[in-house]
Amino acid sequence: MPDLLIELFSEEIPARMQARAADDLKKRVTDGLVAAGLTYGNAASFSTPRRLTLALEGMLAESPTVREERKGPKVGAPEKAIEGFLRGAGLTMDQLEERDTPKGAVYFATIEKPGRPAAEIVAEVLEDTIRNFPWPKSMRWGSGALRWVRPLHSILCIMTDEAGTTVVPMDVEGITSGDTTEGHRFMGAGRFAVTGFEDYAAKLKRDHVILSAEERAETIWADAQNLAFAQGLEVVDDKGLLAEVAGLVEWPVTLMGDIAEDFLNLPPEVLQTSMKEHQKFFSVKNPKTGRIEKFITVANRETKDNGATILAGNQKVLFARLSDAKFFWENDVRTAKAGASEWTEKLANVTFHNKLGSQAERIDRFAELARDIAPLVNADADLAEKAARWAKADLSSEMVYEFPELQGLMGRYYAEFAGHPAEVAAAATEHYSPLGPSDDVPVAPISVAVALADKLDVLTGFWAIDEKPTGSKDPFALRRAALGVIRLVVENGLKMPLDRFFDAQLLRHEIEQNGDDQASKSLMGDLLKEIADHGVFGAAMRTVVDAVDGDLPEHIEELKTRLPDTSVDLLSFFHDRLKVFLRDQGIRHDVIDACIAMEGNDDIALLVNRAKALQTFLGTDDGENLLQGFKRANNILTQAEEKDGVEYSFGADAKFAKEDAEKALFEALDRFEPSIAEAIKGEDFAAAMAGLAGLRAPIDGFFEAVQVNSDDEILRRNRLNLLSRIRQLCASVADLTKVEG
């Protein structure tokens, strides 16, 4: 069984695309071969900057012959039908077989597809793979029509078995396959022929190409650590950079160089970002000083002077790069010291979104919201506003213009020069958090206030202009923002009704977008103040409306329903995000639904506590039984209520209790109701559930001993009213009708 070796040799493939391309080559070729009946033993693919390689072991030398049987028309069927069948099968009449079936004699055809030599199949599959390769971006070159990531120069395609090596002949747009390749662009010795994978890998190594990207990465990392370690330093870990650098070289030579003294006082993040983004250097840290003092660069060749010229060149480039960074830093520090008004002014010209105004307007809006939120997170309102106003200032700085990934971080550094307190500085960085599900959540009150205000402003803004995420499209990362709010609230245990802040911020957007008419604008201003007092839009609206003589402006009239609708819709978006968040923590979706159906569901922390307590409770024997008891009570009640056309909701009297079990249930309810109500008032759901647990035995006993639907109508009604006490009590904890099981 032959082995197959394929190499597609091109001009330099972008580092970020190589690994994926090697996988795609393997997948496409092996899928194609297998579909054509060519199975194989092992497959491995490789990439370097100039080549994609696939090696298959133990491939079939030809595809097996395949026999297919087809059932045709009945014997004696119309001639047309038989002719059609013969045409489809590619056979003649004498090749058909008559067979008896329960439905009579039927024609059968046996079609034999003879096996094909592997070379033929490989050539077809490889050509198809080349022509349809899924590059993220591809191009044409010269006068040709072929597309590849960069010009494709040669195709090596050979099969090797005991008899020797043969080239699989093929031609793709004038590129003819062969058995040759070349090594390193500068250290290689021209083209050479290979006989199989081992020969290929060995000759590449001889000509200074390490075929495996993992091997190159390991070599680089080991050499880098050795260089650093020898001087008591450590390389800053960066897996992404390592993979990228391994894709830029065929023969890695690792070199360590110095960062000029002038730059050692730049913030380490600036050094690191500048070196990585521009030069693809690793940072080398001195563990004693905590500073980044050296860099590691990886060259693609050896030289007579052991890389001295290359290192000197790199050092010079770095000097220029860091001079730029220093220039930005010094200019920014100067601006910050002057109060940074230049930056805030600039933000007035920066559009945040064409329907949501400039960055400056956005900052005004969420600074007000940060004030509103401050008392709930134990933050000082003035300081929260100040922090919000500073949080985006660095977006105008030169450093962030150059390195957008340093946003927030630079704000923290510059805050000090602008004379802001440490809390304000920290909020500049922390208010962006949490960015992902595993990112840390800020805990400093000022940072929390600004982070919440920023995210809520974005969310309410896009809801106000009706640009919500749909399907996979979420260009403004609104799902992430909502999850951020949820995590901020939950992980900081904040008691915070979201409704009120949704309404207030939606109103601020409204004032900005539709505040042209003075009357509406002033009414909306009043409304905003009332929301702060009442905490509820409806009540605030009533107060404002009551104060108006005559007709309301049309816009305000319309706002009465539109704003609450938008707010409710946003809350339901939050509930969807919360479900995902809690599901990841193992909370059942029906448990979450049972809690969302309760009052106060805009208080996320409360909602989460309720859900967690309920899930725990339902996991116990008592909980499970109580749920069954509740369901039984609820079913009986619902049926009776439907039948009688009344609602049994109160009036159960212990004096009509006849059976002992009935009396016991009355007693138990009398005993537990107050403590459960107390626990719920105090939002101690665990205690409330424990109270419910105490009802399990009496409820079970009741259903065992008592026939609810008694012939005595007084007894029956009393018992139904008794059941409704169970229903009400349970309903004060969660909507158990939503719980499955």
Binding site: E11, E12, P14, A15, R16, P49, K137, S138, M139, R140, W141, G142, S143, V149, R150, P151, H153, F186, L248, V249, Q279, K280, F281, T297, A299, N300, R301, T303, K304, D305, T309, I310, L311, A312, G313, N314, K316, V317, L318, F319, A320, S323, D324, F327, N349, V350, T351, N354
Partner: protein, 310 residues
Amino acid sequence: MADTDSKPRSFQEIILRLQNYWAAKGCAVLQPYDMEVGAGTFHPATTLRSLGQKPWAAAYVQPSRRPTDGRYGENPNRLQHYYQYQVLIKPSPPDLQELYLGSLAAIGIDMEMHDIRFVEDDWESPTLGAWGLGWEVWCDGMEVSQFTYFQQVGGHDCHPVSGELTYGLERLAMYVLGVDHVMDMPFNDPQSPIALTYGDVFKQTEEEYARWNFDVANTEVLLRHFEEAEAECEAILAQEHLDPKTGKTIIMAHPAYDQCIKASHIFNLLDARGVISVTERQAYIGRVRALAKQCADAFAQTRAATGEAA
């Protein structure tokens, strides 16, 4: 020919060697375009000639202006006026990388001692409606050239594809000559009776232009010029192709394109003056691109593009 084995001694010698090298490789050595442009790509020998079927091979120096990069001549590497060396060959030859590496050897870069790398860098010019795939070429970590296979220019697919090489001459020369500050670089041979550095030639102009670009240029006048160039470009292209005087078909793609170049440069100046907001920026770029596209449409109909005989 210059003595290519030895190291060049001045900025101008590097330019001369590149000229000789590409002349020897068969390129027409053109002169700079006589208008203010942001990069060598704007020269009609690249933008317009990359369109259409007709083969083309040209090399030239192009003085380029980037007002926002001005640093009063103080930054060792940044200039608001600098030189690019530009090569455009259509169709791109299969050995373009080797040809390019040969040009580095010609200016004294010893491949045995240096680390030359092709690092992904896709090129896009939103103002020209053009894009291509290629690399920035690194020499010891320094970007010394841009290497691009044009895929689209002025909204037209390139068939055949042109290969474009752009050398940032100052940076490349500083490296080859071992100079740390651009202003210290020998412009002519340091042994000349009157030896001149880059600073002797350009230090003062960098200061003058930086001040003008950043603080003085009259933005109202510039805004008006922008509008005028835009209107003129469209007016030129709106003319009948048949010239009533000569009776010939004369499509004025080049004069129209001059106005497009002008608008583009004025936009850069306005940008340096900081009077263009982020939203407006996109709109201005879109307006220049619209002009570039119309010029490309016009050029594509001319003989220089189709290759038809007159």
